[in-house]
Symmetry: C2
Subunit: 401 residues, 2 copies
């Protein structure tokens, strides 16, 4: 069995961007990588075959969700997560820390862990750093995350510090509990929006010697500039030769910006969730395919796009499917958005290797009309207050992890 | 362009069953055939590619639905229905007569046609035999149905007779209005559950010289024996050399029984609708995959089945998807059920050609546990009264057309 390792293939001379390869027991993952989110052992609306077609290499699943349904013992009995969901490429499991803090009810945090009530049936459960590692060992992903404490945004400095220090102690307990060979346990950095905390978190977690690192607690409603400042504070303190995951961040405009700040791995429900709402990503920004202007538009969603949606169907047909709430529409939109993000990541990697990343970043951002911060923050606000309709079980604070 | 024709390849010596081929401008359809129902220009949850994989040859779309959304002019502008939905094999459009009588509100029937309010937005519309043919010419299917009047079950003899005679006059008007070369307009028989009316309808419609015939108004709540008696009354009066479609009927136990009575073509939403409810067809009958007994069942839904669902996923995984209301589950179940019905039809055809159909019918019905009439009729009753939850836009009376 291949054990986990990371190699750097190229480094951008003008930024902290790097191109690499993560080696795992289930195959190689070229980085920077975007991983589609398969919260409940399925990337919503698409099949494993379709994920292979959009050239996904690594996908994320969620320990909190799989612990509740169908139960990690069920997944283990069925031969582990890869076999259960028929995905033979690498998988990363998030710890469920974020979900305990965003979805579950009646949380009680203690040094031991966190007690919560299931959002599914109200039953009470306790997650400890050790029990979460054990659950993730049963699921059998290639990369796993330890239990962390996620704080809301904004968060007072003293509470952010307290939660961060608990997260550090939990990280050490997770590290000691972890046994499964071949599986890599990452360390998670916290620290809210405070550069002093972010720096301390990076130093503390780095000192524990994890094979990879994840930056948590960002894109939860703070301005983009704050997120960038936090990355600039903590990423340089992480060891160069280990991969870095930015948890729950992945809007198209975030990706090159975070890569430029040294991030190698991304996951985010944004692209797949907005797809199910009829919002499609194109090089110019976002398109709402339900708009009347597409009623008789024979063109593909994105001209020149090689995804099966664009190769097979018109904007008019997609609009019709969304107007009629036909399930095929959700899938076709998801396939396109995943293809868009994965192509973007391949292009970013190629341009890093070509020594041309900074130019690419400018080109991309000149063309791509990002959603303005004002709109984005208002959305995050409404989502936190439960006023923005979210669907399924991947509803989250902020962009979503 | 190939024009429409039908050839008989083999006839069963012990029943009215026959094997044939329908030739259409978009290719050949071996019969007996089951056609998946793509009401709104999409067979719910599956892609055209998946339809090709289950070897669908002919699919059905619905004029009522497409007239309301996106509008037949939109479909025409986009190059017709085949191109719009990216399906290059034969298509049949139902007239929408059944939907006007089952879905629309405020129906007013006159000799001219039927005025109704859209179930989507309450807008008022008039369907005449001529306007429906014109709409179907714009959609451009290979086989089209004329506007008919569908009566509820049970229905008094005098009203069934009146509606049938109007249906006959409308059929003649549709025949005169129809112009599109290559497209075949079928004649629809009605007559409720009265053998005298069914015979008169067959004689009258047959005399009009349509290239194919459809039997309407069955499987709307009547016992199976009544349906069989109606087929026995009308089918022998139809010309041998023309194909015969039994509208809206297609539970597994209905198919061999109707083939034995001379039916060549079937459409029904049953298999795809029950799939979305977690009910899967297997040689022994129906399986509700949500049952707890499948929680740790590593076997495919049907052992030995060659569909992509059974080749790729366990019962445990399917159950998990349904428990979590994951959209992929709806698709995997639909693929399996379509594969089941289409395989059954291929087997029926092979056994007719082999001169062995009657033996097959016995084998199949011995093994397959059909849903008892009592349960089926109670379901139809509740559905009529709106007490059985139905989904999407293909809710219907009875099994559904």
């Amino acid at each position: 069995m291949t054990t986990f390792s990371f190699e750097i293939v190229a480094e951008d001379p003008h930024s902290a961007a790097r191109a690499g390869v993560i080696h795992t027991p289930h195959g190689d993952v070229p980085t920077p990588v975007f991983m589609p989110v398969g919260t409940q052992a399925t990337v919503k609306t698409v099949s494993p075959e379709e994920l292979r077609r959009v050239e996904a290499t690594l996908i994320l699943a969620n320990t909190y969700h799989l612990y509740l349904r169908p139960g990690v013992d069920v997944v283990a009995d069925m031969g582990g997560l890869h076999r259960f969901m028929n995905w033979d490429r690498p998988i990363l499991t998030d710890s469920g820390g974020f979900q305990v803090f965003s979805l579950a009810a009646n949380r009680r945090i203690s040094e031991e862990g966190v007690t919560f009530r299931s959002h599914v049936d109200g039953s009470e459960h306790l997650f400890t750093p050790e029990s979460v590692v054990e659950a993730e060992e049963q699921l059998g992903a290639d990369i796993i995350m330890p239990l962390d404490e996620c704080v809301p945004y904004p968060c007072p400095h003293d509470y952010a510090e307290e939660a961060m220090e608990r997260t550090h102690r939990w990280a050490e307990r997770a590290r000691r509990a972890h046994r499964l060979p071949g599986q890599a346990l990452f360390g998670i950095l916290q620290g809210s929006t405070y550069t002093d905390l972010r720096r301390r978190s990076a130093e503390t977690i780095a000192a524990m010697g994890f094979p990879g690192f994840a930056v948590g607690g960002l894109s939860v409603g703070e301005p983009k500039e704050t997120m960038h400042a936090m990355l600039e504070a903590c990423v340089p303190l992480l060891p160069r030769e280990r991969p870095r995951h930015l948890l729950g961040v992945g809007s198209p405009e975030d990706l090159p910006a975070a890569v430029a700040r040294g991030i190698d791995m991304f996951d985010c429900v944004l692209a797949t969730r907005i797809a199910r709402n009829g919002t499609l990503l194109v090089p110019e920004g976002r398109v709402n395919i339900r708009n009347a202007q597409y009623t008789r538009d024979p063109r593909p969603v994105e001209e020149g796009c090689t995804c099966t949606t664009c190769q097979s169907f018109s904007r008019a047909y997609l609009r019709h499917l969304f107007q009629c709430r036909e399930i095929l529409g959700l899938r076709l939109a998801t396939i396109h958005n995943l293809h868009f993000l994965l192509s973007l990541m391949r292009e970013i990697r190629a341009r890093i290797v070509a020594g041309d990343f900074t130019a690419f970043q400018k080109e991309f951002l000149t063309r791509f009309q990002a959603v303005p911060d004002k709109v984005r923050l208002a959305e995050a606000q409404r989502r936190r207050q439960g006023r923005l309709r979210t669907r399924g079980s991947d509803r989250v604070l902020g962009q979503g992890r």
